[in-house]
């Protein structure tokens, strides 16, 4: 599938991008809150080499910049 978002070849970069978004929105708001991230990253496990990506949302454009489009190979339905 075609994804609009932010692609990372190193998981540490995806983790840092996730943190930038959480920090921008002040998450977690209090230590007891469940919400600790604004967006999360995904792992493109079917691709070779594996990469990591964050799906675009308007709310993170100011933080991560303009998104790019790239293809992620879908994980097949289990067994079928």
């Amino acid at each position: 599938m075609e994804v609009s978002g932010y692609k990372y070849t190193d998981e540490a970069e995806a983790i840092e991008a996730r943190k930038e978004c959480a920090d921008f929105y002040g998450l977690p708001k209090t230590p007891s809150d469940e919400t600790i991230y604004w967006v999360d990253y995904n792992e493109a496990t079917e691709d070779s080499p594996i990469f990591w990506y964050i799906v675009f949302d308007e709310s993170i454009q100011e933080i991560l910049g303009n998104p790019t489009s790239f293809i992620v190979i879908d994980q097949p339905i289990p067994k079928k």
């Binding site: 002040g26 469940e34 604004w38 994980q75 339905i77």
Partner: protein
């Protein structure tokens, strides 16, 4: 010690759970005990003292637990908290007593209980809108054993996403299946599938779930069988044996999500065939589905 029964379904003694005070409403889990997980926007157990959900409001990301009033979701507290903003669900608390909450710690992946101050409903009862945007929840290490009975009140809420709606999956992780069991649909108008890693247990139906639907399923290790029900009626059977994983994911497997309006999901680690009808009646008495 007397037994006090009236038409409002109150008892002085609850079967299998010991004594409860006379006049206390008998709730689903008071009668049908030993659930593994129990998520609902109504109160399911008279001994459960926690909240129904934890909600994040969209304007400032503050969170608050929302409980019950008269055994239903406390709408007044919810709308007072969110004002004219959206309400997003961070946690669906487990009412089974096992503490296996469904959680989502990422804001972008949280389902919506209210939009612009208005509580989402199906058939006049509150629901959580889970979308393919994507929204999902997980409860890790919450299940055990190789039998499973589930009771899910839900309704499709929009177009298919990707190539299948994953209503829930019991699996190793959100991307690795192991010995899985899943409920999915490739088209809400004509497919509902109870699906396992063992082919002979699979149940593939042409049933719709485009209106409010009670979907029940039983995978029995003792009778080596599976059966799927829609609104109390059997819609398919399977046979075979298979172990099951312990992690529950609601609304996601890999990049596949469902568009659904969830109101209730209860699971037992046991074959509840003998109680199925009673459980479904309790659910239907509340939601008036069929």
């Amino acid at each position: 010690m007397g037994v006090n029964i009236n038409t409002n379904k109150t008892l002085g003694v609850a079967a299998g759970t010991g004594i409860i005070a006379p006049g206390v409403n008998l709730l689903l889990l008071d009668t049908y005990t030993n659930s593994a997980v129990a998520y609902s926007l109504r109160k399911l157990s008279s001994t459960y003292s926690g909240s129904a959900i934890r909600v994040r409001r969209s304007n400032d990301n503050a969170e608050q637990d929302i409980g019950f009033v008269n055994n239903e979701l406390d709408i007044t507290s919810l709308t007072s908290f969110i004002g004219s903003n959206d309400g997003l669900v961070t946690t669906i608390y487990d009412q089974s007593g096992n503490g296996n909450n469904l959680t989502q710690s990422t804001a972008a992946n949280q389902g919506q209980i209210a939009s612009s101050g208005s509580v989402n409903t199906v058939n006049s009862k509150p629901c959580i809108n889970l979308s393919a945007s994507p929204v999902f929840y997980q409860s890790l290490s919450s299940l055990s054993g190789n039998s499973k009975s589930f009771f899910m009140t839900t309704k499709n809420n929009g177009a298919d996403s990707g190539f299948y709606h994953n209503l829930f999956i019991i699996s190793t992780s959100v991307t690795v299946t192991g010995n899985f069991a899943q409920l999915y649909s490739t088209n809400a108008t004509n497919t509902l599938i109870f699906n396992f890693s063992t082919n002979s247990l699979d149940i593939t139906t042409s049933q719709a779930w485009t209106s409010q639907t009670l979907i029940s399923g039983i995978k029995s290790a003792t009778s080596s069988s599976s059966e799927l029900f829609k609104n109390g009626a059997s819609i398919g059977t399977g046979s075979g044996t298979q172990n099951l994983q312990t992690n529950l994911f609601v609304n996601r497997y890999s990049n596949n999500y469902a568009n659904q309006q969830l109101q209730e999901l209860i699971m037992f680690d046991t074959d509840e065939s003998s109680n199925r009808s009673g459980i479904e009646t309790n659910i239907n008495d509340f939601y008036t589905i069929f």
